[in-house]
């Protein structure tokens, strides 16, 4: 079973620029999550999709962050404009079911905002 694929692995941008991250979940996994992991912290949920619908985006800073999963498979997360405090690893995860179904994480995109 192929794992969760994410790209790019690393990205360095200047503040006020925009950036986009891509995620392809495990085949057949209906639920997709984006997490933000700041250095020294545990991952924090940004948004949860069920198929192509948003289930939870309560912790997504919507003034600058957006995400979509148009066809219910892969997803993109965008930041525009970026701030210094957005420097973090952005992790995508997927699960077969909602609820307490275990999450499978990708290796993340490490974003540095200068």
């Amino acid at each position: 079973e192929a794992g969760v694929a994410q790209s790019p692995r690393y990205k360095i941008i200047e503040k006020r620029q925009s950036v986009a991250f891509w995620c392809n979940p495990i085949s057949g996994h209906a639920t997709l999550y984006w997490y933000q992991q700041i250095l020294g912290q545990g991952p924090k949920l940004l948004i949860q999709f069920q198929n192509n619908g948003v289930v939870d985006d309560s912790q997504l800073p919507k003034d600058r962050f957006s995400a979509e999963r148009l066809k219910g498979v892969d997803s993109t997360l965008k930041i525009q404009p970026a701030k210094l405090e957005d420097s973090a690893v952005y992790l995508c995860a997927s699960s077969r079911l909602q609820g307490d179904s275990p999450l499978h994480f990708g290796n993340g995109t490490r974003l540095t905002v200068t």
Binding site: V4, T31, G40, Q41, G42, P43, K44, L45, Q48, Q50, G53, V54, V55, D56, D57, S58, Q59, L91, A93, Q98, G99, D100, P102, L103, H104, F105, G106, N107, G108, R110
Partner: protein, 117 residues
Amino acid sequence: QKEVEQDPGPLSVPEGAIVSLNCTYSNSAFQYFMWYRQYSRKGPELLMYTYSSGNKEDGRFTAQVDKSSKYISLFIRDSQPSDSATYLCAMPTPGRGSGAGSYQLTFGKGTKLSVIP
């Protein structure tokens, strides 16, 4: 008080030692408890998953839950250099979103473990 508290370490032990990693939590609604392992520059991977109070063993790993004290532990026996990683406890809870099935994993900060050969 944060929902999940975990000592970030770092923790350094000699090869072969028994390692004890711990988390405390404040929300009585937590019913399931997970431990994830995260190697450097990798995503977290699920290590152990338990529903109930008591112990669950998987090879060299034992997960322990004490719901009355709101305390969970992960023990690693005969620790190996390959166990060097950050260990994150996590607990699933209903999310704060308005969609049906909104679900969130609340993570601890993670404990960074180094096993020295």
